[in-house]
Every structure is written in C-alpha cells, then in structure tokens.
C-alpha cells in the first residue's frame, strides 16, 4: 500500500525538474513579463532601499542637519520614460589603475596566467555542473524502467552512480582550481580585484556558503546511493536530492556568471563605477540570463563530450565483449545527451548576441564584423567539425544496427549536403589582400564567392546542417524497426514533406535575404530557425509515433562500434573543449581594453587584444592541459575500486528506452 501511494508521487520529480527548468529560464520569463511590472518592482526596490539608507543616515546624523545622500545615474538601467535610473551612491568610484595595480611573474604575462587559471576552473566547473544533470536524468529513467526492465534499470542506475564517482574527484579538483584562480586574481590584479570585491561584497559569502550546501548535498547524494537504492520511497528521495543538487549548482553558476556579465555589460553602478546600492541590479545585468542559459546548455554538451570520451576510451581498452557492450552503450547515452544540448545551443547563442547588440551595438559589431570577426570564422569551422563528428558517429553507429542497410545509402548524400553547407558556412566575408590582389578581384569581396560570406548564406548553411543531422538521427532511431502501423505510408510522406519543405523554406528564406536591407534581413533568421525546430519536434514526434507495434530486425549489436565511430567521439570531445575555450575568449576579449566595460579601464601591460594566432595557441594549450587533468582525475577515480561488469548477455545488453518499442 505504501508503494502504491508513492507511485502517485512519481510526479514529484517531474515537478522538481519543471521547477529547475523554470528557474533556469527565468530570464525568458522576465523578458516576456510586462515591462511595467518589472519597472514597478525596480522602483519599489529603489524606494525601499533609499528609505532604508535615509533612515540610517538620519539616525547617524541626527542633530547634524539634512542627511547628505548623493544620487547618481545608473549606466544601464532606465526608468519608465527611458531616463537613466537613479540610485544612492554606495561605493567608491572605479580606480584609475596604475602600475602598482598590476603584478607579474617573469616567465609569463599576468593576463595569460589568469586566462589559464580561469579557463581550467571553468572547464572543470562545467563538467561538475553537467554530471549531476546527467545523473538526475539517468537515475530518473532508471527508476521509471525498473518495473518494465529491471536489468536495464540497474544498468542506468549503475551508470549514474559511476558518473557521480568520477564527478566527486573532479569536484575537489574544481575547488582547488577555484582557489588557484582566486589567488591569481589577488596576486596579479590586486587593483581590479579590490574594485570587484567592493561591488560584489554583499554576495561573495553567499557564494561561499552555496559551495558548502553543494558539497553537503553532493556527499549525501553519492554516499547514500547504495543505502537508498532498494526502498522505493528512499530512491525517490535520493533522486530528488539530485534535483536539489542541480538547483544549488545552477545558483552557484549564476552567481559566478554575474562577475563576468557585469564586467562585460555592467549595471547597478554609475559612470564613475560607484555602486548604487542595489546588488540585484549588479547581478542581473543585461547579459546575465542569456549567458546563464547558454552555459547550462554548454555544460551539458561539454559534459556529454567528456563522458563520451571517457566511455570511448574504456571501450577501446575493454577486454571482454560485455565491457565493450557496456561502454559502447555509455558512449551512445553520452552522445545522445551532448547532441541533445548541442541542438538548442546556437539559439541560446543567438539570444546572447541579440542582447549584446542591444547593450552596445558597437560591441556586437566588434564581435561579428570587427576585430573578433575572424574568430567567428574559426567558430564556424569548429561547428562544422562538430556536425561532421556527430554525423560520422551516427553513420557508423547505424552500421551496427540490424536493418540499417535500408538507410545507409542515404549517408553519402547527407555527407555531401554537410560538405556543401560547411563550405558556405566557413567562407569569409572579406580576407586580407595586397592592393594588387584587391584590384584583381575588383573589390574586397569576390564577385561570386563573396555572396557566400554574408549572413543569409551562413544562416541557410547552418540550418541545413542541423536539419541534416536531425534527419540522420531519425534514420538511426528507426534503423532496426519494421514499421507496421497502418498509416506508415502517410507517416513517411509527412516526414518527407516536412524535411523537403523545411529545406526548401530555409533555402528560399536565405535567397530572399539577399533582396532585403540588412536590418530586415536579420529578421529572417527567426523563420529559418523555426523551420529547423519544426523538423526536430514534428519529425521526431511522427517518427516515434510510427514505432507503435513495429517489428524489430534485431537488437542493436552493442560492442561492435567501429574505430572511426569511436574516434568521432574523441573528435567531438576535443572540439567541444576547444570551441568552449574559443567562445569564452571571444566573450571576454570583446571588452578590449576594459576590465569593466566603459567603467574600469585596463591600464596594464597586457591590455592589448591578442592576435588570432596567439589566442589559438592558448586555446590549444588550455584544451590539452585540461584533458591531461581529466585523465588524472579519471585515473584517481578508478582507484576507489572497480566493480566487475556483470556479464548478463543477452539480457545484459541494454537497449535505450527510446530504442525500445
């Protein structure tokens, strides 16, 4: 009876997951909320704070005449009429930093050292924030499949537990790297750090306390795993702990993000950099929400890449067929999660760029058309690499699915589409030329190839690449299924119509963009993205609906993944790592010679923007260095004792839920 009651409570994790989602996208909610309400809330907070300050000043200066409160204008927030919001000056102005505010070691520039410390901490932070998300999902799936497939359920549970084990070592490592980062800041950039600490003083200890909470929940979650495993009620409590863990982790990440977003697009201070008394304004500056959402998705992708590479490595070194089958399956789960996060990632990036443009148009143009533009070309190459990697993995994975011969013939066409799109996607708008070359070409843009350098072509190319990947994934899903529903023909027609229609629409909108002015052309990306998302959601829904009562050509032959397919995972993992470093560099370097945009100028010797080559070498170093550390962390994690992989074939060969009928 007890367990029956708790079956009804299975909605609880859903509700908690929903709460996490709502929390994560609260920026979206805020954006769509009535601006009037937002303003009223701001005004109320301002008034309340001002009253408080006045009361304190009044108490202190009683009998000394009128309290002297200086009010100043916020650099970002505006009132209902569009005038800068005012707040009581509550801090010192940003200092004009001099030589004494910058220290250095002889062996490397301070900026490079800070970059390394920051990037390494971010990589590990990203991983330890991503793993609890995976564990939450995987453990939940394990609970849900317990009755229908206990063997598979156990596999899911063990996978989640193994991932947490790795994450636990990485968690300590992250904290150490955080300490290194902090000391680097204090030692090498004391003037800048003093200013930032002054601004964020109200929440710095909250951040530290959140770490305590994160650690506490993490330890209970991990060490309580086996004890809470058998009782259904306790298992749900355990799963709920993962939700709590993710909530705390997300708060931690958002707090840390606020430093970076404040530096890039400050708010809550006046022109002189004086704090205006409202810490929420400082935290919740304009880029806070898009950066937060972008990082959550980025963490999922990056975490998927790391787990995938971890599993791929074990797959290559596995000694028994059972081990191979297990790690092949883990690779699949990790890649599924990574690609699941990868697909919406460009849209979050688009939202972030939109907010950057809204904050300062010249900042956006510096990114997309100024000194950072070449870095976006590199990003395009990296994204192309990711799509090639993802499709290569799916193509090779299909080969181990019985019945896939029906679809393998389409792979070459998909590769062709990817190559064509990739070529357009990476075509630069202009290139550096000698005057003679410029004259010979007749202008900065090539008369033919130059057309592929504009956003109309690039948006079209990337949307077609995503659509192709979605199509490839749908084929993978149905590779071992013989569709038996009565409406199979109609369903296939619908799928064909959706993808062909989508491709036509994307190309049409791309071509149409050439006939519109630039400011209107930008708007076409919305219907293009909507088209792509339609193929994802409608295509997947129809595809899965068609699996009802389908016959199987046979289970997936786990453990038979080809070498190429396995190395595709490594390619994805190193590409994610490099790309993450690249985008982080772009986001940070766009401040150019400012520590805090327009407020605190970087007067240090490293205030220049690196050449692309210098930056590229740093990115490669950071990527290789973090993987060396991951290797060490995984090795340390493996020292805690290896569980023997159960050999339970054929039942032991798991079939993911979405592959089952």
């Amino acid at each position: 009876m007890f367990s029956t009651k708790f079956k009804k409570l299975q909605a609880l994790p859903f509700a908690m997951f929903l709460a996490l989602t709502v929390f994560a996208v609260n920026g979206l909610m805020a954006d769509v909320a009535s601006a009037k309400e937002v303003f009223a809330e701001q005004a109320f907070a301002e008034q309340a704070f001002a009253k408080e300050v006045l009361a304190e000043e009044g108490a202190e200066g009683e009998g000394e005449g009128e309290p002297a409160i200086e009010w100043s204008q916020d650099v970002f927030y505006k009132d209902w009429e569009g005038n800068p919001l005012k707040g009581p000056v509550s801090g010192a102005p940003a200092p004009d930093l001099g030589p004494n505010d910058y220290n250095k070691y002889d062996f490397a520039p301070s900026r490079i050292l800070l970059w390394v410390a920051n990037q390494q901490h971010l990589y590990f932070g990203s991983f330890v924030l991503a793993v609890p998300i995976f564990c939450m999902l995987i453990e939940f799936i394990g609970i849900r499949t317990k009755e229908s497939d206990p063997v598979l359920s156990e596999k899911y549970d063990r996978l989640a537990h193994d991932l947490m084990k790795i994450s636990l070592t990485a968690y300590s490592w992250t904290a150490i790297l955080g300490g290194v980062l902090l000391f680097t800041f204090i030692t090498l950039f004391p003037g800048f750090f003093k200013y930032m600490a002054g601004i964020f003083r109200p929440v710095m200890h909250v951040y530290a306390l959140m770490f305590l909470a994160e650690s506490g929940v993490l330890y209970v979650y991990y060490y309580g795993w086996d004890r809470m495993k058998d009782d259904q009620f306790l298992k749900w409590i355990h799963c709920s702990l993962s939700v709590l863990l993710n909530l705390i982790g997300t708060v931690l990440m958002y707090l840390a993000n606020s430093w970076a977003t404040f530096m890039q697009a400050p708010g809550g201070i006046d022109e002189q950099g004086r704090f205006l008394g409202n810490i929420w304004h400082v935290i919740h500056s304009t880029l806070w929400n898009p950066v937060g959402v972008h990082r959550i998705l980025g963490n999922i992708v990056f975490g998927g890449g790391i787990v995938g590479a971890y599993a791929a490595y074990h797959y290559l070194s596995a000694k028994t067929p059972e081990e191979k089958a297990h790690y092949d399956w883990v690779c699949y789960i990790a890649m599924f999660i990574a690609i699941f996060g990868l697909i919406p990632l460009p849209f979050a990036g688009y939202w972030l760029m939109k907010e950057v443009y809204a904050f300062r148009q010249q900042m956006g143009i510096t990114l997309m058309g100024g000194i950072m533009a070449w870095l976006f070309i590199i990003q395009a190459v990296m994204i192309g690499l990711l799509f090639f990697g993802a499709n290569s993995y799916l193509h090779n994975s299909m080969a181990r699915v019985r019945g896939s011969h029906r679809y393998m013939k389409y792979c070459k066409y998909m590769v062709l589409v990817l190559i064509v799109c990739f070529t357009a996607w990476m075509t630069p708008h202009t290139i550096v030329m000698t005057p003679a070359e410029l004259k010979a070409m007749g202008g900065a843009q090539h008369p033919v190839v130059g057309h592929f350098g504009v956003m109309s072509a690039k948006n079209t190319a990337v949307n077609l690449m995503i659509t192709t990947t979605i199509f490839c994934f749908l084929l993978y899903q149905r590779a071992n299924k013989k569709i038996t529903v009565k409406w199979a023909y109609i369903g296939n027609c619908w799928l064909t119509a959706i993808f062909v229609g989508a491709a036509c629409n994307i190309v049409y909108l791309g071509v149409y963009g050439y006939f519109l002015p630039a400011n209107q052309r930008v708007g076409l990306s919305v219907p293009q993205v909507t088209t792509t998302l339609t193929t994802l959601f409608a295509g997947t829904a129809i595809n899965i609906s068609m699996f009802k009562d389908s016959e199987s050509y046979g289970d997936i032959e786990w453990g038979t993944q080809s070498r190429v397919g396995t190395y595709a995972i490594f390619l994805l993992a190193i590409s994610f790592t490099w790309l993450m470093g690249l985008m982080g560099y772009i986001r940070s370097a766009v401040r150019l010679f400012w520590h805090v945009t327009e407020v605190l100028r970087d007067n240090g010797p490293d205030a220049y923007t690196l050449t692309i080559g210098e930056a590229g070498k740093m990115l490669t170093f950071n990527a290789l260095f973090v993987w060396v550390q991951f290797g060490i962390v995984f090795w340390v994690g493996s020292l805690t004792g290896k569980k023997k992989v159960e050999s339970a074939a054929p039942q032991g060969v798991p079939v993911p839920a979405q592959q089952q009928q």
């Binding site: 290559l316 148009q361 052309r521 190395y567 010679f593 923007t609």
Partner: protein
C-alpha cells in the same frame, strides 16, 4: 607572450613528448617481461636512450625563447617519429600482436587535432589591437589639412590594410560608410554629411523628433539645438545660432537628439550609436573637433573652405593632458616637426644609432645607415617583405618591424624580434611618416 619568454604551448608540448617517451618505455618493458624470449635489456637500453634524448631536448626547450622554441620543436617531433618507428620495429621484430595502448593513441589524436587548430589560427591574418591612447596630444602648430588628417586617423586608425576594414579610436567604420553608394545598412552613409548638416537643422523632423529643440536628451544630458548649452569643455566659441557644425557635434555627443529614418530603435527614436565623448570612446574636444573637421572636408579633397571648426592652439590641448597619467600621455607627431624632433619624439635614439641626430647612439637595434643598407637588405634571401625601394623598405620597417629582422653582425645572430614597438602607425600622421621615411632613407655612416 613577450619575445624573451617561452611559448606556453611548445613548453607544454615538450613535456608531453617526454611523458610519451616514458610511456613507450613502460609499454616496451611490460611486453618484454610478458614474453620470455624477448631481449628486455636490449630494448630497455634503446627506449631508455630515447627517454634521455627527450629529457635533454626538453631541457633545451626550457632554455630557449619562444622564437627559438618554434624552430627547435621540429627536433622533438623528429625524435617522436623515431620513437614510433622503433616501437613499430619492436612490435614487428618480436612478433607482438598487441598494439599501442589506447591512452597513447587517444593522446596523439587529441594533440594532433588541437595543434592543427592552433596552426589554422596562425595561418589566418594576424592583427593585434592595442588600446587607443587616452587622448591624442600634439606638438607644434597644425594646418587645417593636418587637423583633418588627425580626424581621419581617429576614424580609421593610422594603419590600413587592403581588404580589411580599418577602425580607429572613434570606431566609426564599424557601422558607418563614407563613400557614395556604399551602405552596410547599420548606420547612415556619411557621404555628403557636411551638406546635409545645413539643411537637416531646418527640417520639421529635426525640429520635433524624437525630442523638440530646447528639450534635454536623457542619456546624454544634451539640450537639443542649443550650441551655447553644450558642456563647456566641448562648446564652440562664437554665435549661439545653430549651424551645420553644431548638428555634426550634436550627432556625435547626442546621437538620439535626431535619428535618421530607419536607422534607429524604438520607432527611430533611439540611436544605437554610443556617445562619442563618453566611455568607451571618450574623444576629447580636440579629437572631436578634428573628426568634425574631417567630416566637413572629406568630400572636397584639398579644399577646406567648408570647415567652420577653428584650428586648435597648443593651449587647447594643454589643458587636456590627462594629469593622472603623470605626464605619460600618448604621443603623436603631426608632421610639422623637424625630422630630428620626430626621431626624438618617437624615442628612436634609445635603441638606434642615427647619423645626424644628436645623442642617437643606441645599440639595442641596428645602426640606421639605410642609404647603403636598405638596398642590400631588400636583396637578402631572408627578406620576405614587399618593398622595392629604400623608401618603401624604411616605411615597412617603421610600420611593421618584424617584416625583416636585421642580422647583428657583431654578435653573429639576429637582433631580437618584437622589441621595436609596432604601433608607430598610430603615433605618426601621414606627413610625419613621410618626413621620417625620407630622413631615415638618407642616413649613412659618418665619413662615407
């Protein structure tokens, strides 16, 4: 990284190479022990020697600067190649079927991919962006042409690369275009803006939209259409009547006072343009007026009759020297100086011996006897620049010192690259640069 420092990537890679040689050694010894017939001693010595060689090379790498490391890393790659070759011979010769451990294969894959990516970024055009000076200072009197030139440098920067958009301190070309018919759609084309400035202030839309004349713009605090109420430090002298120059100044200091149709936000009531006199651009009065001068003069080359901005006097900028800099305000030569003054202003004598300049006996860089030396260097096999004449070579050496690094004959090695600043392009006006090039091109050893 500074030239004398080590390259962080190559230094790291050299360590990885050593770790690789140790891992190979361990693998070989493991295989030898697992098989009774294999001569463990022989193979141990061979692969132990590779470890020693790797350690030696790593030690060498730590003693080199980054330029030298780039050359030396090839030796290490060669060593790795020989390790792999010998490893293969070991497997083949001893009939060992197991392959290299996945750890090494994966590490190689990762290193190859990421180093190729670093190579790709180094293959692309390289452009370093230095922070702009806090405020431009100038020495001596300027002509109107020079004043307009300074404005042009603020708009486009001093360095211009074919096919690349040049962007100066003002950042204007990020959004604006200046030639007829050229429009990137972000902000209005400024061709003919001088002419428009006179008619626009009479248009109804200017008088009333988005705020009326006499009203205050919130973000900038500027009162529209009132030149006599512009902040004092930017205010022009003379009549309070609104003229074209005021429209241009107002557009720079208060972009939302008037927004050109279809280039604004919120129904063309808010301009996306930053306030030019505020951060991040923060033009001083002197700089802002030079930009207005250029805007008024640019459509009529060589003709300055439409310029209404008065020439500055040294007193105008004396007050703009940022006191907080402790006298280290960025320098700028306008071209009115003598060549010797330019040479001293740029600090050339600190490193170079320059005949004809008193006290120029620096020894850190090559002696500037360019009348004789430049033609020889152009013919040098190492020379990869584009100069054909002495003047072109000298100009290239000033603007891009790394284009050709001179050999220090006394030391038998190259002078260190990267020591000479690469930002003279932003410190010299076109006239100043021409003057300097002409002077340096004719320097020769005393008595020759």
């Amino acid at each position: 990284m500074l030239p004398e420092q080590q390259d962080i990537l190559w230094t790291f890679v050299t360590l990885l190479f050593t770790v690789f040689s140790i891992l190979v050694f361990i693998n070989v010894i493991k295989n030898c022990r697992a098989r009774p017939g294999v001569n463990a001693q022989k193979w141990g010595i061979v692969f132990g020697a590779f470890i020693l060689l790797s350690l030696y090379q790593t030690n060498e790498m730590f003693s080199l600067n980054q330029q030298e490391q780039l050359g030396y890393v090839g030796n290490q790659v060669l060593t790795v190649f020989f390790i792999l070759l010998t490893w293969g011979i070991f497997f083949k010769g001893e009939n060992i079927e197991s392959q290299s451990p996945p750890l090494i294969r994966v590490a190689f894959f990762y290193s190859t991919i990421s180093i190729l990516l670093a190579g790709y970024t180094n293959w692309l055009p390289q452009q370093r962006s230095d922070p702009p000076p806090k405020a431009v200072a100038f020495t001596g009197e300027v002509t109107m042409e020079e004043y307009a030139d300074m404005g042009k440098v603020i708009v486009f920067g001093a360095k211009q690369v074919a096919g690349q958009k040049s962007i100066g301190k003002g950042q204007c070309p990020l959004c604006h275009t200046f030639d007829p018919g050229d429009n990137i759609g972000r902000c209005p084309n400024l061709f003919g803006v001088e002419e428009r400035s006179h008619t626009r202030i009479k248009e109804d839309r200017y008088l009333n939209s988005p705020i009326a004349i006499g009203e205050k713009d919130g973000p900038s605090g500027i009162i529209k259409g009132k030149p006599d109420e512009i902040p004092e430090e930017y205010r022009r002298d003379g009549s309070p009547d609104l003229i074209g120059e005021d429209y241009l100044r107002e557009s720079l200091m208060c972009p939302s006072c008037y927004v050109v149709v279809s280039y604004g936000k919120a129904g063309d009531t808010v301009s996306p343009m930053p306030l030019i006199h505020k951060p991040p651009i923060s033009l001083s009065k002197f700089e802002l007026n030079s930009v207005i001068t250029w805007l008024q003069a640019k459509d009529t080359p060589g003709e300055f009759s439409k310029v209404t901005v008065p020439l500055p006097s040294p007193d105008d900028t004396a007050s703009e020297e940022p006191a907080v800099d402790g006298g280290e305000a960025p320098i700028f030569a306008t071209g009115t100086e003598t060549p010797e003054e330019i040479v001293n202003l740029m600090g050339c004598p600190l490193c170079h011996t320059i005949p004809g300049v008193e006290g120029a006996v620096g020894e850190l860089g090559p002696k500037l006897h360019e009348k004789i030396n430049a033609p020889n260097r152009i013919k040098d096999a190492r020379y990869e620049g584009s100069a054909k004449t002495t003047q072109e070579y000298v100009r290239e050496s000033i603007l891009n010192p790394s284009a050709y690094v001179v050999m220090n004959e006394e030391e038998g090695e190259l002078f260190p690259d990267g020591v000479m600043p690469a930002d003279f392009g932003s410190k010299l006006s076109i006239n100043a640069l021409n003057k300097l090039v002409e002077f340096i091109s004719n320097t020769e050893e005393s008595g020759s």
